[in-house]
């Protein structure tokens, strides 16, 4: 075969595939990845028993009322946490995004803004690197059991996450309009409101709503360490092997998330 008809990318493709396989092999060992254990008789038996326990789900009025109350608390923790998270994320995003850098317009960013941007980014990284469950453990020790720890945990972690992704969205978008505004002497906030925000508002909103869904899921999980909400009840029921109660709560929880999903779709349609 003449050389011009040989795929020049072939060698690097083979190389990178082998690298990936070599790196992945130990992962199977470390995670004790043995799918066949799922189908051993003992495992199958306990799976069957637990699944049989799931049915029928418990639907006594008193229990349903309790679930409904915990449901609302879960949503409330998520919403309050998101509100505080936005208070953290928005200023930090504006500080950290290089799309609004005036000194970077001609080429390189100046040293001081560069430093501020990097410092803000590090702050965002630290905020979201600590899982909300760990923040919740910390705050449960400080303010005691209850929803306060949950709200604070969500606020800090989600503030970091939103800040990071907002920054990415703003920087990945077409920078032409914003740069033109900045070049013509507009301030950073003016450029943000007239160039950057209209361009990416749909994406920002849809991401925020998506995060709110995630926050609802998180706040349910935070209950496992004592921060209130549906999770705490689920933890109790699991510890007492009440499969029927767990099933009810899982179903309610899925409906909750489904509702949030619907709300997010509606909101995006309205704002698009």
């Amino acid at each position: 075969m003449p050389p011009q008809l040989r795929d020049p990318a072939w060698v690097s493709r083979v190389f990178w595939t082998s690298v990936a396989l070599v790196l992945l092999a130990p992962a199977f060992v470390l995670t004790e990845f043995r799918p066949w254990t799922l189908f051993e008789p003992a495992a199958l038996k306990s799976t069957k028993r637990f699944l049989a326990d799931f049915f029928p789900p418990k639907i006594e009025a008193e229990f349903l009322l309790l679930v409904a109350r915990e449901c609302w608390r879960t949503v409330a923790i998520a919403t309050a946490g998101m509100a505080l998270a936005l208070l953290i994320a928005i200023p930090l995003t504006l500080l950290s995004t290089s799309a609004l850098s005036i000194s970077a317009l001609p080429g390189r960013m100046h040293l001081i803004p560069l430093f501020i941007r990097q410092a803000t980014r590090w702050l965002l990284i630290v905020l979201r690197s600590v899982p909300e469950l760990v923040w919740a453990l910390v705050f449960v020790r400080v303010v005691g059991l209850g929803p306060t720890a949950g709200v604070l945990a969500i606020a800090l972690t989600y503030g970091g996450m939103l800040g990071k992704v907002y920054g990415e969205i703003l920087e990945s978008d077409e920078s032409h309009a914003t740069n033109t505004l900045l070049r013509n002497g507009a301030g950073r906030l003016q450029a943000f409101f007239y160039g950057l925000l209209p361009q990416s508002s749909a994406e920002l909103t849809s991401y925020t709503v998506y995060r709110w869904e995630c926050a609802i899921r998180s706040s349910a999980v935070l209950g496992f360490v004592g921060a209130g909400g549906l999770g705490q009840q689920m933890d109790n029921s699991m510890k007492m092997f009440q499969g029927g109660e767990v099933a009810t709560m899982l179903l309610v929880f899925m409906m909750l998330v489904g509702l949030a999903d619907y709300a997010s779709a509606r909101l995006r349609k309205v704002l698009a």
Partner: protein, 280 residues
Amino acid sequence: MNAPAVKPPAAANEAYRLPPKLFSARCAACWFLLGLAALTFASFWTLDLQWAKFLSAESARRMGKFLAELLSPSMDPVFLKKLLIASLETIAMSALGTLLAVIAGLALALPASRTHAEDTAYWRVPTRLILNGLRSIPELVWAALLIISAGLGPFAGTLALGLHTTGVLGRLFAEAIENAPPGPAYALRVQGVPAGRVFLYSTLVQILPQLLSYTLYRWENNIRAAAVLGVVGGGGLGQMLAFHMGLFHMSETSSILIAMILLVALVDLLSYVSRRVLQR
């Protein structure tokens, strides 16, 4: 062009020159935002949030003490070695869980997307229901459930991550497929190419950067999740954290937290670099 220009009438107070009213009864967005505000207000109102306690001197002192304890991490080499293994286990769990999810997610995203106007997409609704179900149950709950079948340890954690992430990625992938520019796929379809090959030869390359960035972002997320799954017995750093925090071993706890932050920062750096490489 030599007709005299008609002078436009003064526009200052003509109704049709005014911008549309900001708030009108039919403005769905306004109602939605109003609802959102009400929801937020009600949330703060009904939760018995203990701001007084949180902002008190007592709590500040406790917080300070806690932070001070955290500032002296354990440097015991035996412990550090255990920590390293747990970190590797966490990464392996997240990587494998994400990989499983990418495969399953892509497989489910294809039936879950409507690629063109005439696509009947019979499987769109049922597949999306499955994806929603997988996604709406958090990893931690999946892990708690899977421990019954798979037993304590990282395997249950990996599967839990895989199941939840399949739901997340499947939905994102399906949206990426539906939003891909239709031109190239159309040209192949008009030629009578079956749907699978149309996807492979036109849609996939177009959305590949998007798939990769979703995957990397989810992987990053999964590393945190993997770290936490240990709390219910899913292996990794979380199992160590739950153990040492429960016994008030503050210096060990501090080392574990530092390891977690370093881990996520490292992944963040890698995902940033790879994105840069891909964009070139």
